[in-house]
């Protein structure tokens, strides 16, 4: 199997044997939307429920008890204050240049 894998600088071509587990990034493909017929057919598909025993997972290893990490608090993040909002009357660019000028960008 050949994949293109995102890197900091661009992407790499990667090859590997199958079976393989592959994860993808958002936006990698356009999802194919189901037809009405497909949606109706999906309703008739069996749903198999699996419990921990069926998965062979030790109950002590999952959930809060198995997390081995604990949320100790949740705080409100500091909010950024909105500034001035103006309607463009054809001279908004001057306002932007003035703003950039104050910051010595222009």
């Amino acid at each position: 199997m050949k994949v293109q894998r995102q890197t900091e600088a661009g992407y790499d071509d990667v090859e590997c044997q199958t079976p393989a587990l592959v994860s993808v990034t958002a936006g990698v493909v356009e999802p194919r939307y189901p037809s009405f017929k497909g949606i109706m057919a999906a309703k008739k598909k069996p749903v198999e429920e699996l419990n921990l025993a069926a998965l062979g997972v030790d109950a002590a290893a999952v959930g809060q008890g198995g997390a081995r990490q604990e949320t100790i608090r949740v705080t409100q993040a500091e909010e950024r204050q909105a500034g001035e909002v103006i309607e463009d009357e054809g001279d908004a660019h001057d306002k932007i240049i003035e703003f950039l000028g104050e910051l010595k960008i222009v």
Partner: protein, 320 residues
């Protein structure tokens, strides 16, 4: 128990450590007495700069040409941690950092907490801070495990700062057979062409979004960026649409930027985008929808047509 040693997963390019690696060194230095670096690659070339940023030792595998980094880094790290366990391993939120941390967490059966922006020590335990709900709240998580705490951090969460330390001691880490996953190989590398100021460290960033209407309109974002000696960026919507490469994406699943000035052109300000840029010192937003969330974080908001305001701004800047 206190935090003695933190191992930083070091990344870099051609012997230069990445900015994020140096940020992690600063964060680690703030809470641990000893900071070391693990490099899946050539560590010797990076050792002087890593040392200058407070690392005492660099544990390196040597070049891993043609190998998938995460697979081999995780296997080598597992062996290294067994021999000399640190209190925590810090990873950057990067493609290889994510890959390595996930694989290592499974290998050593230890919890990993991702997406953090802060680290501290409370009652002798490592506590990390993670923003949730689009950065409106922060969750603090304490590690309760026996063994190294694995934590990942977002870029630009800490200020890198040199300490003036000498070269870090370079130690070789054995490459371990990683099992079947080792069959994955890198057969080609593609580096996207980048010119001008880089998005990560530009003082000014000019970004475009869906409000531009069509791919060609991004040219004016680039032109404005050139005039302001800025880097150009984009919202996820137009990256997903294929107008501009992913390397320009600013946001939760793209780059986090903190420039002096951020100019958002035709960007509505979805949470996904705000998370990546609201740490900017100053924000200018141009959008035709007065209700756009971007105005909630902008210092100067222009309700107007980006196709009129931006060309007028470009003309005005050119005539100066």
């Amino acid at each position: 128990m206190s935090i003695e040693t933190i191992l930083v997963f070091g990344e870099g390019d051609e012997g230069t450590p990445s900015g994020l690696t140096l940020e992690l060194l600063a964060a680690a230095r703030g809470i641990a007495t000893n900071v070391e670096v693990f490099v899946a690659g050539d560590g010797a070339a990076m050792a002087p700069e890593l040392g200058a940023h407070g690392a005492t030792k660099v544990h390196a595998t040597g070049p891993l040409d043609g190998k998938l980094i995460g697979v081999h880094a995780a296997a080598a790290l597992q062996a290294h941690l067994a021999a000399s366990p640190p209190d925590a391993v810090f990873f950057g939120q990067t493609p290889d950092g994510r890959d390595t941390a996930a694989r290592l967490a499974v290998r050593i059966d230890q919890p990993v907490v991702t997406n953090n922006v802060g680290a501290s020590v409370e009652d002798g335990t490592l506590v990390v801070e993670e923003p949730v709900f689009g950065g409106t709240q922060n969750v603090f998580t304490a590690f309760k495990n026996d063994g190294p705490a694995l934590a990942m951090f977002r870029p630009k969460s800490f200020e890198a700062e040199a300490t003036g330390g000498g070269d870090a001691e370079v130690l070789t880490v054995d490459i371990v057979d990683p099992g079947p996953a080792g069959s994955a190989s890198v057969t080609g590398r593609h580096v996207e062409e980048r010119s001008g100021p880089q998005l990560d460290d530009a003082q000014v960033v000019v970004s475009g979004g869906r409000g531009l209407g069509q791919p060609e309109a991004f040219e004016m974002v680039d032109e404005l960026a050139d005039l302001l000696d800025a880097a150009s960026g984009a919202s996820r919507a137009i990256v997903d649409a294929g107008w501009v490469p992913y390397s320009k994406q600013v946001g939760q699943t793209g780059k986090v930027v903190k420039p002096n000035v951020y100019v958002a052109c035709g960007i509505s300000g979805a949470t996904q985008h705000l998370v990546g840029m609201k740490g900017s010192k100053h924000i200018i937003a141009i959008n035709k929808d007065p209700e756009a969330p971007i105005f909630g974080v902008a210092d100067l908001g222009i309700v107007g047509d980006v196709h009129k305001v931006v060309p007028a701004l470009i003309e005005a800047l050119k005539s100066r």
